[in-house]
């Protein structure tokens, strides 16, 4: 009986796992189901004519993966790569790509009810990347919707590298 009630509660308020990373001192989260792996920073080969938000490409076990400059995409000032910098390989819109982050923190569990709607004021397109915000361990966690990280055309363009 108690198990059934718990299952009903879980269905009504599902718990999701989020991989958290840091950018410019703020903590962000992405759905763990979209994360394939996390790599240490390797040499990224620049691609001539690539969009500004693309740093370059890496060779991931024989597969070429484009790496997105997340700071640039989020409208944050650029910074130097450090030892804690990581490339997070994600899968979004059926495309596998990498995002460069300052550091990867942990995996957190959040219930849907713990996620609040984020403000979206202004005309900056980057605001739509934010899926919601949540508080975990007295820290604000900004949840990123990776599907909206790039537009349809941009995803297609990325696949051409």
């Amino acid at each position: 009986m108690a198990v059934n009630i718990r299952k009903k509660e879980e269905n009504a308020d599902p718990e999701l796992q989020w991989v958290t990373f840091k950018l410019a001192g703020e903590k962000y989260g992405i759905n763990v189901m979209q994360v394939q792996e996390v790599l240490r920073y390797n040499e990224i080969a620049a691609v001539p004519g690539a969009p500004s938000y693309v740093i370059g490409i890496i060779n991931l076990r024989g597969t070429v993966v484009s790496v997105i400059d997340t700071r640039s995409r989020f409208g944050l000032p650029s910074d130097e790569v450090t030892d804690s910098s990581r490339i997070v390989i994600i899968e979004a819109e059926t495309h596998v790509t990498g995002i460069l982050v300052d550091s990867v923190a942990e995996v957190v569990y959040l219930r849907q009810s713990e996620i609040e709607t984020a403000p979206s004021v202004g005309n900056d397109e980057s605001a739509k990347f934010i899926q919601g915000v949540s508080h975990k361990n007295n820290e604000l966690l900004i949840l990123v919707d990776l599907e909206k990280l790039l537009t349809e055309d941009e995803w297609v363009e990325m696949s051409m590298f």
Partner: protein
């Protein structure tokens, strides 16, 4: 001659003692707090309740009284005479403290005094009763020690319920003045609290009752400036509002939004937003209160009824990328995240000083909305008559600007309107 001299001496002693006791019991004009050994601020009721209760005990043992009382007609006075008759031979005159002559109490004055005592006993804090409860065995056994005013164990300092009621500038020489002033203040305070709570919407009213503001807390600039203070929910109930006009507010309960406490937030905002034909919003149809604050050197005023909480901006704001410049970030609070607005940039972008972001000390939230206005400092609250404001006629541009407070020469913000505009700027809010 030899007989008459001791008799005369005794009689003099009795007279002095009689005066002393009369004075002790009925001299309400003297500084009772000091004379009775009671902590200043303890009311006369304590003295009249405690001392006679102890002192009249021996009287029943000596009903005969050769030296009838001189002035008083009450039973208490009669008891006092008996008391004097019994104890006079034991007390040297030199040992008695010099006091001013006893004040006589007539039958006509007795009810008034009784009423005054009653009023004080109701208006002043009850903890004073602890004085009465303290045992005084020495007093019963040895009257001399009591009359010499030997130091008694002082009652423990009681928590003062309303310490503000006693001001240093008011000497406590007149109990009548003290009582009336205290009554006025308490009545004023109660009226103010009730009115504010009734004017506030349901959710905020709960906050007022449950939060520390249910105590007589105050939006005190000094207190608020203590940045180390925890981010307590503070509803701005102001202790001493500056009254601009002494005119009574006309009791138009029908148009008063305060009467409608059951409405939800949206209804409340729309009600507040409505501007009447007389060119004033609903909340300004009668005397209303505003809270003054400063933003980059500019003094602004907002109606108290639309305020949520005041939160010290001690913690770092969490910036959210992709937002407008006037959005400073999210500030976590017990009631949820506050979306902090750069008030200086929003209100006067032409004179914006970027230093404001680092100088802002507080966030004033809008009741029923997630928005908070970053401000430099919070000033006092003000009661305003509608006529004290020059209301804007045309409000198509900068609709949040309600008018100008004439006396203060500051801008009055129509904060419900501003909240609506901020909500309108949030795309996520629209999509939801």
């Amino acid at each position: 001659m030899a007989d008459s001299e001791p008799h005369s001496k005794n009689h003099r002693q009795i007279q002095v003692l009689q005066n002393y006791l009369d004075d002790l019991l009925f001299d309400t004009d003297s500084d009772l707090g000091a004379d009775s050994g009671v902590e200043p601020g303890i009311d006369i009721n304590v003295v009249n309740k405690t001392k006679p209760a102890v002192e009249t005990e021996p009287l029943k043992k000596n009903p005969d009284n050769a030296h009838a009382g001189t002035n008083t007609e009450s039973n208490t006075a009669s008891n006092t005479k008996n008391y004097a008759n019994q104890s006079a031979p034991e007390i040297p005159v030199s040992a008695l403290p010099k006091r001013k002559p006893a004040k006589l109490i007539s039958k006509a004055a007795a009810p008034a005094i009784s009423q005054r005592i009653q009023v004080q006993s109701e208006s002043l804090p009850k903890p004073t009763l602890r004085v009465k409860q303290e045992p005084k065995p020495e007093f019963k056994r040895n009257l001399r020690s009591e009359l010499k005013q030997e130091p008694r164990p002082e009652p423990k300092p009681e928590p003062r319920v309303a310490p503000k009621l006693e001001t240093k500038s008011q000497p406590r020489t007149s109990p009548r003045a003290f009582v009336s002033a205290e009554q006025e203040l308490s009545v004023l305070e109660e009226q103010k609290r009730q009115r504010l709570q009734s004017m506030l919407s349901q959710p905020l009213a709960k906050k007022v009752l449950n939060s520390p503001l249910s105590r007589p807390t105050v939006v005190d600039k000094k207190a608020l400036k203590q940045k180390t203070a925890e981010s307590v929910t503070v509803v701005p109930v102001v202790k001493e509002a500056v009254v601009q006009s002494e005119q009574k507010a006309h009791a138009d309960s029908e148009s008063d939004p305060a009467a409608r406490t059951s409405q939800n937030t949206d209804e409340k905002v729309s009600t507040f937003l409505k501007w009447q034909k007389n060119g004033r919003p609903v909340w300004a149809q009668r005397e209303f209160e505003v809270l003054m604050f400063e933003v980059s050197g500019l003094t602004l005023a907002v109606p108290l009824v639309a305020l949520g909480q005041i939160v010290p901006l001690t913690d770092k704001l969490a910036p959210v990328f992709g937002q407008s410049d006037w959005f400073m970030g999210l500030l976590p609070s017990k009631l949820g995240d506050i979306r902090v607005v750069n008030t200086a940039l929003l209100v006067m972008p032409e004179k914006y000083d970027p230093a404001f972001t680092s100088e802002a000390g507080y966030v004033i939230t809008i009741d029923g909305h997630p928005w908070g206005l970053a401000v430099d400092c919070v000033k006092q609250a003000l009661k305003l008559e509608p006529d004290a404001v020059k209301w804007r006629g045309e409000r198509s541009k900068r609709a949040w600007l309600a008018g100008t407070v004439k006396t203060e020469m500051c801008v009055l913000i129509d904060i419900p309107q501003m909240a609506i505009q901020l909500d309108g700027a949030d795309k996520n809010l629209h999509s939801n």
